[in-house]
């Protein structure tokens, strides 16, 4: 009943510390480049979705989607901002997909962006902590790195996962990021570097955590049957899965199973009529090193407790069997929260089109993006396929 949906254009700004550019400027930059990439005209747009978490708190602006359509001349296209914590970008893509799939819109721009640098780290840390449960976690001083550290420690106790494995996530993703001109960090990292870096929240060290970044990304969606009018390389969105879990970590039956990831993956694979073995490349939400491993298991790529073995064997390297985070991931590319879910999809579109330059995965046909909100209480997964 749904219409098939294709991505016909995409782009992103460089991620990192973008001094002198405000939130609106980076959203405009990513949006105009994506529209240009799609080769469509401004008057073609029906709808605009903007993923963003902190415009009100950090940029003192509300209704930024309405502001964006004005800035890029897409009036009278409909516009709305989606805020879903670090999953805002994936959520925006999902709603853009539904606008096209339903038949309501024929051309949709989805942009995601965040401006996070230029303020105290403690302010960012506090704002990110508002994702935690206000009474059960936040008031007790639980920050995101603290939650991730508890989660990591439990993982290490249960499975044969060591600090060395965490370091190896950083090593792989920094190496990938070196090949990505859009990545925030261009810096090789050795196992030694990671294992001796500053402690953030035991056992998580600096290199196990993503950096605070600015950045924006955008994609243009239209019905798959119209995609060929605009591009020779459309990418189809075969399916999405979106699921929630308990707000607090402590209420989960098994705190180291990411049920929102499991269910979102099941839903996405069901919709796409595919399974984990059909994927050729994936972008996962490695805000903390452990998450790349845990998500790779809960999505179904590897058995629970064995994600680190795949990492050790190089399965998830760019030239491995299932490359994970060829972009450098959140770890090295950066994590402007509202942009991340859109940027994951931009990277995968480039990979599927064969336009990922030095970090190109060999001839991928299908790809998966996992955008993870809160500490795993809201996950959105998209499955993409090369359209030619």
């Amino acid at each position: 009943m749904m219409r098939d949906v294709a991505i016909i254009g995409c782009s992103m700004t460089k991620f990192g510390r973008l001094d002198g550019k405000d939130l609106m400027e980076i959203l405009v930059e990513a949006s105009l480049k994506a529209i240009d990439d799609a080769g469509v005209s401004e008057c073609d747009f029906d709808s605009v979705y903007v993923g963003n978490m902190l415009a009100g708190e950090l940029s003192h602006q509300s209704a930024i989607a309405s502001a964006l359509v004005d800035r890029i001349n897409l009036i009278p296209a409909s516009a709305e901002r989606i805020e879903n914590g670090p999953a805002s970008g994936g959520s925006a893509v999902k709603n853009g997909f539904l606008a096209v799939a339903s038949g309501a819109s024929d051309m949709v721009l989805v942009a995601g962006g965040e401006k996070m640098t230029g303020v105290d780290t403690s302010t960012i840390s506090d704002l990110m902590s508002t994702l935690n449960h206000p009474d059960a976690e936040y008031v007790h001083g639980a920050t995101m790195p603290a939650m991730a550290a508890l989660f990591t420690r439990l993982y290490m106790e249960r499975y044969s996962l060591t600090e060395r494995h965490l370091a190896m996530v950083a090593v792989k993703n920094h190496a990938n990021g070196m090949k990505n001109p859009y990545a925030a960090l261009h810096k090789l990292c050795t196992v030694e570097d990671a294992m001796t870096s500053a402690m953030v929240s035991d056992p998580l060290r600096l290199y196990h955590c993503c950096p605070i970044s600015d950045g924006a990304a955008a994609v243009v969606l239209c019905p798959a049957e119209k995609a060929k009018e605009f591009t020779t390389k459309p990418v189809k969105i075969l399916g999405f899965g979106h699921a929630t879990d308990t707000h607090t970590l402590q209420e989960r039956e098994d705190p180291i199973i990411l049920k929102s990831v499991k269910i979102a993956a099941e839903r996405a694979f069901k919709m796409a009529k595919l399974n984990p073995r059909d994927m050729d490349v994936a972008e996962l939400h490695d805000a903390f090193a452990i998450l790349e491993i845990a998500e790779s298991e809960d999505i179904g790529f590897f058995k629970k407790g064995e994600g680190q073995l795949a990492l050790e064997k190089g399965v998830t390297a760019i030239d491995g069997e299932l490359p994970i985070n060829p972009s450098g991931g959140l770890k090295s590319k950066g994590h402007p929260v509202g942009a991340t879910g859109v940027a994951q999809i931009v990277e995968l579109v480039w990979q599927l089109r064969g336009e990922a330059g030095q970090r190109q995965v060999k001839d991928p046909e299908r790809a998966l993006a996992c955008n993870f909100g809160g500490f795993g209480n809201n996950t959105i997964i998209h499955i993409l396929e090369r359209g030619d």
Copy 2:
């Protein structure tokens, strides 16, 4: 191609100063009452959309949609917050509609809520001013009442609209609000009261502006073909229209034509295959008195410049030919910004079901809701029909 969508349950909290209840508590209250009204079980839900403008700024919470699904046991339903300024509620309903229309979801909860009291009025005034253009309006001290005052003055110069007409909007809506147990203000107002009330921004006086309120509202949506399983009184959403306009008032070709309202109305009527004369009752976004009149014209109910004549003749009274704002409107019911667009639809569902008590309009079959964001740069219109 789209599936037909019906509203099978709805509810709202009382609007006003809800001391001792935080944002999450009022969202929970409205949501649970709507689910109860629909007679569905918690496990039936696929998706939750939450309309809210200021959770981050005023309640220090992000990703409140994820928090809500946990609080009301709808896990693993998908969840996202829609922020679209004062049009957040209408935007949330629209996206909930698309989730069902597309076939992606079979049962959707849409909640809207805002907690605005208990902080300085100057803080609220500043936050609402962030809807204005940051460089062209906000930095110059342009507040929402100031924009509305400029707009009103231009209207008075062009058409035979007087301060007395503005007062008559207040008189009608306060009288209607007296009959609405959910309204923030239960206070009769005479033309004299309104015309001698404190000046807010010349020519707008206190009674020409909506009060600052707390409140939440919620609706339950499902495919129309399944609605009869749950209720004998389904209400169909026949169509929506959503459009944007320039961010600044000064850039509009004619600053007193609300183009976003005009285009949203045209789109909604086209989708519903109806026209303005088919409507039996409407809830318009009277954040300021002039807006009820201007919207009633730009939607096409009355000729431009003649909305006040309809008001004078009683056409828009509860017992008139086209009752407008039988709920009391934003003026008397209150305007918790994220809740408003959802609450308008709740009122219209009650009207269409014949459950509006003392303020019941005579036997309405079709209804229109107009939710207006910024100073008219983002409007969402929904058209509803009694399903029996």
